[in-house]
């Protein structure tokens, strides 16, 4: 990848945003179990970081996805996985379908303020009984006059208590085929009938505001439908593609930091009279991990390259997500080991990364879902297979 001065400028802005604005506040947000989403998004919006690849018409940067990815990479350096993830939801998980398929009216109302950082958004797919198996969701949106009436429950909603609106996947034709009966609908979260709970106590991503949201006869106007009715499953699959490349990109810097922190620590810390880092089993292992991270980076940029050049990146995006999940577990676990007892303490940066990154293999389609997608695209999954 040959970066242009504009890439470099975005990288510099992003880096400053992360290092000077976000990171000094991370410990506090982690301890509080929440962060001020509106403040953070506004700051990012003012810096022009929230819609780098979205159309200029709605306040975006109008650049290709490689510029977005530069930002995402730098976001990986946030010292609190939950904060990075929240911004990722705002930029790459909740808005791609709206930006691409939403009506002008809808984009004016929701996309513009979101890219400006005036609104916080969320993506509503998972439910208590439908996580990786997206098609199994039960939430319904039934037409009634000019409205949809929504009933159901969404789980694991990042930005859930603070978001102004949610991009909701729901069944608009409960009897239709499960891949053709769903729609994406924008639901303002101050609507009557919306209740939010935050009782999910997570081992990592502690700063993230993760909610369960209940919809009880919630009315939204039909014009809040994104694109065509019944196309929601397809839109969401497309939207997932950005989410998954994002997952690859967002993982890199975090893993690099874990390795760097570990180098730093083991260089200082002595056992048996020499720095821990001087142990060949330690520095060789770190080199092996750096090689893997470099491979993830190359794979991610190769997916971006395909994406911006109009080649189908579905498979590579799934591979990025899978590899990011695998490495999130391997790198943090291996590094934590070299910190000894310190690694077991809560506020240790490697420990936080260990807990935070465990989600990568689970959220946004588990590793096994990625394997299922790759198998399908490669034509090697049996027709009657379970996934």
């Amino acid at each position: 990848m040959n970066f242009t001065p504009e890439h470099d400028a975005i990288r510099a802005t992003s880096k400053r945003f992360v290092e000077e604005y976000l990171n000094p506040q991370c410990d506090e947000w982690e301890a509080a179990g929440i962060f001020p989403a509106h403040d953070v998004m506004k700051k990012a919006g003012d810096l022009g970081l929230l819609g780098i690849s979205r159309p200029e018409k709605w306040g975006g940067g109008g650049l290709d996805y490689s510029y977005e990815m530069v930002f995402v990479e730098e976001l990986g350096a946030v010292r609190s996985g939950g904060v990075g993830m929240a911004i990722g939801v705002q930029t790459n998980m909740a808005v791609p379908a709206l930006a691409r398929f939403g009506s002008d009216e809808l984009r004016e109302e929701y996309l513009r303020p979101t890219l400006a950082g005036d609104q916080v958004c969320a993506i509503g797919v998972s439910e208590p009984n439908a996580g990786s198996d997206v098609a199994a969701i039960k939430t319904t949106a039934i037409k009634d006059g000019d409205d949809y009436v929504i009933n159901g429950q969404k789980m694991w909603i990042t930005n859930g208590t603070q978001a102004d609106w949610i991009c909701l996947l729901c069944n608009t034709d409960p009897d239709g085929h499960k891949h053709a009966n769903k729609s994406l609908i924008i639901v303002p979260l101050d609507a009557k009938g919306v209740t939010r709970e935050t009782k999910i106590d997570k081992m990592g991503m502690r700063s993230s505001d993760t909610a369960i949201i209940f919809f009880d006869d919630v009315r939204v106007p039909r014009r809040n439908l994104i694109g065509e009715e019944g196309a929601g499953f397809t839109y969401q699959m497309l939207q997932f593609q950005e989410e998954r490349i994002y997952a690859g990109g967002a993982a890199i810097k975090g893993l690099e930091l874990v390795i760097e922190d570990t180098i730093e620590y083991t260089r200082q810390r002595k056992t048996f009279g020499t720095p821990i880092l001087d142990n060949q089993s330690v520095y060789f292992r770190l080199c092996e991990l750096m090689t893997e991270v470099e491979a993830l980076k190359a794979l991610t940029w190769s997916a971006v390259d395909d994406h911006i050049n109009g080649r189908d990146a579905t498979m590579k995006a799934s591979m990025c997500k899978l590899k990011a999940g695998r490495l999130g577990r391997e790198v943090t676990d291996s590094c934590l080991q070299y910190w000894g007892g310190q690694g077991f303490t809560w506020d240790n940066p490697v420990n936080r990364a260990y807990r935070d990154s465990r989600l990568t293999s689970i959220g946004g389609g588990a590793d096994e879902i990625m394997l299922g997608i790759i198998a399908k695209l490669k034509g090697i999954s049996p027709s009657k297979a379970l996934s």
Binding site: G131, D201, T271, F272, T274, G340, G343, W346, L386
Partner: protein, 385 residues
């Protein structure tokens, strides 16, 4: 390993104890990051569960070490690993040296009440700058009249806030770092002992972990265990039991992860079947079960060696290493099949994922085990690497 009716009976007693006295309280103890050590240990003492392999003079039952192993194995049923660890410190980490090398007076004063559950014990080896590298500890015990005057600090002390006494490793002389250390019994209500704020850990939340400072603490010289200067050697021996105990304790804890995961995966539906219906899932579980049985077999064999009076250091170190490895892979593999639930806090598998992460670190890290194994099998090369 041949188990008799008596072994099975003992196993059932421990299992019942865990089910009745520990598991119903685990949620609360985890939440409060503390458990009532004196109360719980007293109940165990009354049942004769502490000191099962020790001589009567120590207040023990004089049974084979395999009873300690069964105790540790069944304690693995605890839904939080911090409780078994606290018990293990009492039975097999802080007390073996005293049982083996202490005099009768010391045994009566400290060991009998400990095995009776009237006292809580701790072991003081690690320091802020000396974990796996035991020989480099800095705490000193300087003779002054009939006393030792102790200065320094100890880190990661399990049972640290509640313990009545600590088996302390300290430098009592200059000389070689392997022959200048001693084990000394230090009552923790002594003047100059300070226990600081709890260490915030990712797991083992119910466990009471302290850093303890010793500032001109005076203890009588009769509190020395065995011979002066033998502390390093005694501690290395004491580690044998600690390591075998830790390996034993992992067995059921890991199996619990597997069993709970199987139950969950059987109920949880995905793509029209259960999660467990996926071959990818049940094959990985089959592999994990195989690894656990291998660890069990290795542990049993090490215990047999020990019972027969042979040097079990190699097998015990191997068991500890293997246990450490499995504590990283098994809960991680299991957690994966829980999806988002696995990422929540009050889930037994995610708790094991956090708790058991300590195993490859505590009691001699995996890397220390590899060092020992390399040395004992003569493969360590001529230089340090």
């Amino acid at each position: 390993m041949q188990f008799t009716h008596e072994h099975e009976e003992f196993r059932r007693t421990v299992a019942r104890f865990v089910d009745d006295e520990i598991n119903p309280n685990v949620a609360e103890w985890e939440h409060s990051e503390m458990f009532p050590a004196h109360e719980l240990f007293k109940k165990m003492g009354d049942l004769g569960l502490l000191g099962v392999s020790r001589s009567e003079s120590c207040g023990g039952l004089e049974l084979g070490w395999e009873y300690e192993m069964i105790l540790a194995e069944e304690l693995g049923r605890s839904q939080a690993a911090g409780i078994p660890m606290a018990i293990g410190v009492q039975t097999n980490m802080a007390t073996p040296a005293l049982a083996n090398f202490g005099n009768d007076e010391q045994k009566e004063e400290w060991l009998q009440p400990t095995y009776a559950g009237d006292m809580v014990a701790a072991i003081g080896v690690s320091e802020p700058n000396a974990g796996s590298d035991v020989a480099s500890i800095k705490t000193t015990a300087r003779k002054d009249g009939d006393d030792y005057i102790i200065n320094g600090s100890k880190m990661w002390i399990t049972n640290g806030f509640q313990a009545d006494w600590i088996c302390l490793l300290a430098n009592t002389g200059e000389g070689s770092k392997h022959s200048n250390k001693s084990l000394i019994i230090v009552p923790l209500d002594a003047k100059g002992v300070n226990r600081n704020d709890r260490i915030k850990k990712i797991g083992m939340k119910a466990s009471d972990t302290a850093q303890i400072f010793f500032d001109d603490v005076r203890v009588p010289q009769r509190n020395l265990i065995g011979a002066e200067g033998q502390g390093f050697v005694y501690q290395m021996q004491q580690f044998q039991e600690e390591r075998l105990w830790l390996a034993s304790q992992c067995l059921k804890a890991l199996e619990m992860c597997v069993d709970e995961t199987v139950n969950y995966a059987r109920e949880r539906k995905i793509f029209g079947g259960s999660v467990l219906d996926n071959q990818w899932v049940h094959f990985q579980i089959a592999e994990v079960q195989t690894e656990i049985e291998a660890l069990r077999s290795l542990t049993y064999r090490a215990v047999e060696e020990m019972n027969e009076g042979r040097d079990a250091t190699l097998l015990a170190s191997m068991a500890k290493l293997k246990a450490g490895r499995l504590c990283r892979t098994v809960p991680d593999t299991c957690l994966q099949f829980w999806g988002g639930q696995g990422f929540t806090w009050d889930n037994v598998v995610s708790r094991m994922y956090r708790d058991m992460r300590l195993m490859p670190i505590g009691g001699g890290a995996d890397e220390v085990m590899m060092r020992i194994i390399s040395k004992m099998t003569g493969t360590a090369g001529s230089k340090r690497g």
